[in-house]
């Protein structure tokens, strides 16, 4: 019974957010086409969809994460779901959503690649990352997935911070989110120096290893999951 309810939450949250993502991808794809056909310099290659989508997807996931608390948590707990079941269901759906979003991005990238073979585009596309060497592609896809999930989790953290503690302490959660972003940047882009961590840990060396990136990223995500359990466990539901 217990697992049935959390699966129901997972399915419901996943399905709703998947619908949001379809809107998001439609708009993103239109912008991408506009870039290819109208907003290009004609000289430099335009990023392929996979590379282009990377930052917008992260922002989308962040917003989704912030919204789940306000849109679904109260609604589901009002229907007799326990906080723990809601947490587990939502965590599952987050893992699934990040995956499906990575796959949809790859799919659109693939469609774009196939189209490119038949249609002559006004500008060259840089598809290097997704269709480069196998190792490079796999690393990019993993990076894409873990970044999407991290942004979602950080959004969730901000959402619950505001929901539980109100605006003032909520800002503290935004600060915490910035630490999360910095760590994530450090793992994946090695540029933590440009962000918050630099002032705290001056000896940090930028990371360039994929193994370190993936390990660090998984640890960060795990830490966020654990933090969300403690934030959700006894939260008072707003009326």
């Amino acid at each position: 019974m217990k697992s049935e309810r959390q699966s129901k939450v997972a399915a419901h949250v996943f399905y709703q957010q998947f619908k949001w993502s379809l809107w998001f991808f439609s708009i993103l794809f239109v912008i991408h086409l506009a870039r290819i056909f109208f907003l290009n310099s004609g000289v430099e290659a335009v990023d392929g969809f996979f590379i282009f989508a990377y930052q917008p997807v992260n922002v989308f996931m962040l917003v989704c994460g912030i919204m789940i608390v306000y849109v679904f948590m109260g609604q589901h707990i009002h229907q007799g779901i326990s906080r723990k079941e809601w947490y587990k269901g939502t965590a599952l759906s987050a893992i699934g959503l990040a995956l499906i979003i990575t796959l949809v991005t790859l799919l659109i990238n693939g469609i774009q690649y196939v189209l490119q073979q038949f249609v002559s585009l006004p500008v060259a596309l840089d598809n290097a990352i997704a269709f480069g060497t196998f190792e490079g592609a796999l690393a990019s896809i993993a990076g894409f997935y873990f970044n999407a999930l991290t942004f979602y989790m950080i959004g969730w953290m901000i959402g619950i911070g505001y929901y539980r503690f109100g605006w003032v302490i909520g800002f503290g959660f935004v600060a915490l989110a910035l630490v999360g972003f910095s760590l994530n940047d450090f793992f994946w882009e090695g540029n933590a120096y440009s962000t918050l961590l630099a002032s705290w840990v001056p000896q940090f060396t930028p990371n360039t290893s994929f193994v370190v990136a993936i390990t660090g990223s998984i640890l960060l995500i795990a830490a966020l999951f654990v933090f969300m359990v403690s934030m959700t466990k006894r939260v008072t539901i707003k009326m």
Partner: protein, 291 residues
């Protein structure tokens, strides 16, 4: 399926304000309980604890003998319907009913459809575009059709016009006859809803004042009707709650049970004795508390 409720020495504090003070009470399964209290008495606080929306500061809240907070089996049994703010709710009525149907194991879709029709609810309209009364009717539909073993309506009728409220009460009683469960109806429309109650709970300023079967409560007073002179003579030593006069006929509500001697005396004075209204008792009891 019906669930019982038990509160043991429950206190709820918001910073320094005590919303509930050491409340101990039992609500029997399968009955309709009327929860009555003035504004700010602590009704909603009490109900939000039973629905596990929050934890008590002290004491325990049990549903069917087990603590309800974060207890999935117990939380599933409780439906708490209250005057929710739908300003931001852009989903259609249909969608919100679907969410309840999806999560509530005893949800009856046919009954929901029947109620939607009875209340003439536009199912394809966004909820924030509905009138207050329509939003309340939608809440009532969800609350009744969910058939949760413990169903709580906290002033669920707000904004509903008299005919709609009448539909609500009738449907509730009909469904209770066929699918008995435990209802808690919190209200201050006492005179309108008292016939629904099997049991009455009165709270005031966070404390429990009364928790009795309806008959016991209504026997705690009487209405005396007759010629003004006789009524005044008869009730001169009694605690008067309310009086009305029309020409030479007077009706006085008194507090306290009448003994046999008093009844005989009333009879000899040609006075009629009737039950006291819960409304008058409620006003009296809570006013006394304030003094």
């Amino acid at each position: 399926m019906a669930a019982s409720v038990q509160l043991n020495h429950v206190t709820l504090k918001f910073k320094k304000f005590e919303a509930l003070k050491d409340v101990t009470l039992t609500l029997e399964a399968g009955k309709i309980h009327g929860l009555i209290g003035r504004n700010g008495a602590g009704k909603t606080s009490l109900l939000s604890l039973i629905a596990a929306f929050r934890e008590p500061t002290a004491g325990e809240v049990l549903v069917d003998g087990s603590p309800v907070f974060e207890n999935p089996e117990k939380m599933e049994q409780v439906a708490f319907i209250y005057d929710k703010d739908y300003k931001e709710e852009t989903e259609k009525v249909k969608k919100l009913v679907e969410v309840a149907a999806y999560y509530r194991p005893n949800f009856d879709q046919e009954f929901a459809d029947h109620l939607l029709k009875r209340f003439k609810l536009p199912v394809n309209k966004p909820v924030n575009k509905l009138s207050k009364g329509m939003q309340s009717a939608m809440n009532v539909v969800i609350g009744l059709a969910s058939r949760a073993p413990l169903t709580i309506f906290d002033e669920a009728y707000l904004g509903m016009d008299a005919p709609a409220r009448e539909i609500f009460y009738k449907e509730l009683l009909n469904d209770q006859a066929e699918h008995p469960r435990t209802f808690i109806l919190s209200t201050h429309l006492v005179s309108e809803m008292d016939y629904l109650f099997d049991h009455v709970v009165i709270i005031d300023q966070g404390t429990l004042l009364l928790n009795e079967p309806y008959e016991t409560v209504s026997s705690q007073g009487a209405s005396i009707t007759g010629s003004a002179e006789q009524v005044d003579a008869f009730t001169s030593d009694m605690k008067r709650l309310n009086e009305q006069q029309l020409g030479g006929t007077k009706s006085v509500m008194v507090y306290g049970e009448l003994d046999d001697q008093q009844r005989t005396e009333a009879h000899s004075r040609k006075l009629e004795i009737g039950p006291v209204s819960l409304q008058d008792l409620f006003i009296h009891i809570t006013e006394e508390e304030v003094q």
